[in-house]
């Protein structure tokens, strides 16, 4: 048992609990709700086991689906995000991301912001498309995805700053 695994299990449970107890009840303007639980996938160590991440993000999605009665919507969105995460890393940090240890919970640089933005946009777009599942709601999907993305990103950055280990 190493500390990375323990930290990730702790994060898994804590983020889910906070999401279900607090953020699921937030309905700004009636339909904008943030999903900061995907911080689990965003903050997962860069070089750690990839199939582990796939399984973990599938399960975090299934638990979310169970609590919000949404079938498999969250599971699909989380899984796709987890699978395409390395490509997002490559896009935002350049090719050599594997060699320099990228730490996300650090000072916010443009690269880190791009990565968080892309992850949240991908996740939310898949989530809201599958949730509505009808072409007639397309403008509605776009609006919801956009507003929720802004909301989620703000909360994600606040959370990252709050849990950032103090180095002084």
């Amino acid at each position: 048992m190493n500390s990375t695994l323990l930290i990730n299990i702790f994060r898994f449970i804590l983020l889910l609990a906070v999401q279900i107890i607090i953020f699921n009840n937030m309905n700004f303007l009636g339909y904008v709700s943030p999903f900061p639980y995907i911080l689990f996938i965003i903050l997962y160590p860069v070089n750690a086991n990839r199939s582990g991440l796939l399984l973990a993000s599938f399960f975090i999605g299934v638990v979310m689906d169970m609590f919000s009665n949404s079938g498999g919507v969250h599971a699909t969105a989380c899984l796709v995000l987890a699978y395409y995460r390395p490509y997002l890393f490559k896009f935002s940090f350049g090719l050599s991301y594997e060699y320099q240890t990228v730490k996300l919970n650090d000072v916010l640089t443009p690269e880190r912001f791009t990565f968080i933005l892309l992850s949240v946009v991908i996740h939310h777009f898949i989530l809201f498309t599958l949730e509505a599942f009808q072409v007639t709601f397309f403008s509605d999907i776009l609006l919801r995805a956009l507003l929720s993305t802004i909301f989620t990103i703000i909360i994600c950055i606040v959370i990252i700053y709050l849990i950032k280990p103090n180095k002084r």
């Binding site: 279900i20 107890i21 309905n27 009636g30 339909y31 709700s33 990839r50 199939s51 796939l54 399984l55 599938f58 999605g61 299934v62 689906d65 169970m66 609590f67 919000s68 009665n69 949404s70 079938g71 498999g72 919507v73 599971a75 699909t76 899984l79 796709v80 699978y83 599958l130 949730e131 509505a132 599942f133 009808q134 709601f137 509605d140």
Partner: protein, 274 residues
């Protein structure tokens, strides 16, 4: 053989991804298909228990509105009681339909959702208390939804604010039937479609449940007419109904337990099979 193993080892992540993607997509599609219970729902011991704990804290916040609703309902029932023509005569049971066809169970909403297109509620009573799928759920103001799935102690309800829900409804004054659906836009309004054009509708008329469904008895309040539109293609009315119920604030609800519901379903099923 060696090559197959090599292929599997080399692409293990991709294969795992495709496998999990297949599972989650089939769960998604299955949940959108009409009238089939979900594999994963919040009617289980884990999420039901968590929601019950959360609700036991948050119910204090709206004790006042719940009390007011109860007082209003009491006043309504009292006025029914006092305005009876002869208070000594007990009302006769409907001898044609048999004895009291509905039983009522009291339950509490422990989780409410109204911000997506397919909304579900979670109640804190389940099959141990006699709740079964397809029972109607109402509260003192009007209809709330239909039971979807049950576990021993919890059950989920398809809210009327769900694009999958279709409920038989009628205009109280003229007895013209239509189907009540939701277009996924506003939490205060639902739509009544397929009302024939010869029906006399006016803004402000009351919409109640129709007698054609086994789930709800006739004449349970739904809402009032807010806007009337004529569909040019089908020549039916599409009526926007303002709900009596505030679906964003639900406390205690009543589950209607139809005594001969199962018998009717079996009969209709037999008819279909033949």
């Amino acid at each position: 053989m060696q090559q197959i193993f090599n292929f599997i080892f080399k692409n293990s992540n991709r294969l795992l991804f495709l496998l999990l993607l297949g599972i989650s997509l089939s769960l998604t599609i299955q949940s959108h298909s009409f009238h089939r219970s979900k594999i994963i729902s919040s009617a289980n011991f884990l999420s039901g228990g968590v929601y019950e704990k959360i609700n036991s804290v948050s119910e204090y916040l709206n004790l006042k509105t719940q009390n007011e609703a109860l007082v209003l309902e009491n006043a309504k029932l009292k006025s029914l009681l006092f305005n009876r023509k002869d208070t000594t005569v007990v009302a006769k049971l409907d001898s044609i339909k048999g004895v009291a066809p509905k039983d009522i169970l009291v339950s509490k909403v422990i989780h409410n959702s109204y911000n997506v297109h397919e909304n579900y509620l979670t109640l804190n009573s389940g099959s141990n208390q006699g709740v079964k799928p397809d029972m109607g759920v109402i509260n003192s103001l009007g209809i709330v939804g239909v039971i979807d799935d049950t576990s021993p102690n919890y059950s989920t309800v398809i809210s009327i604010l769900n694009t999958k829900s279709i409920i038989n409804a009628k205009i109280k004054k003229s007895n013209h039937f239509g189907s009540l659906i939701w277009n996924g836009k506003s939490t205060g309004f639902v739509q009544l479609i397929d009302v024939p054009r010869l029906a006399a509708v006016r803004k402000g008329d009351t919409i109640v449940t129709g007698g054609q469904s086994v789930i709800f008895p006739e004449n349970i309040n739904i809402g009032t007419i807010d806007k009337i539109e004529i569909d040019n293609q089908t020549h039916y009315y599409t009526i926007t109904v303002k709900l009596f119920n505030d679906m964003t604030n639900l406390g205690h609800v009543y589950i209607l337990k139809g005594k001969n519901q199962e018998e009717i379903y079996n009969l209709e099923k037999k008819e279909k099979d033949e």
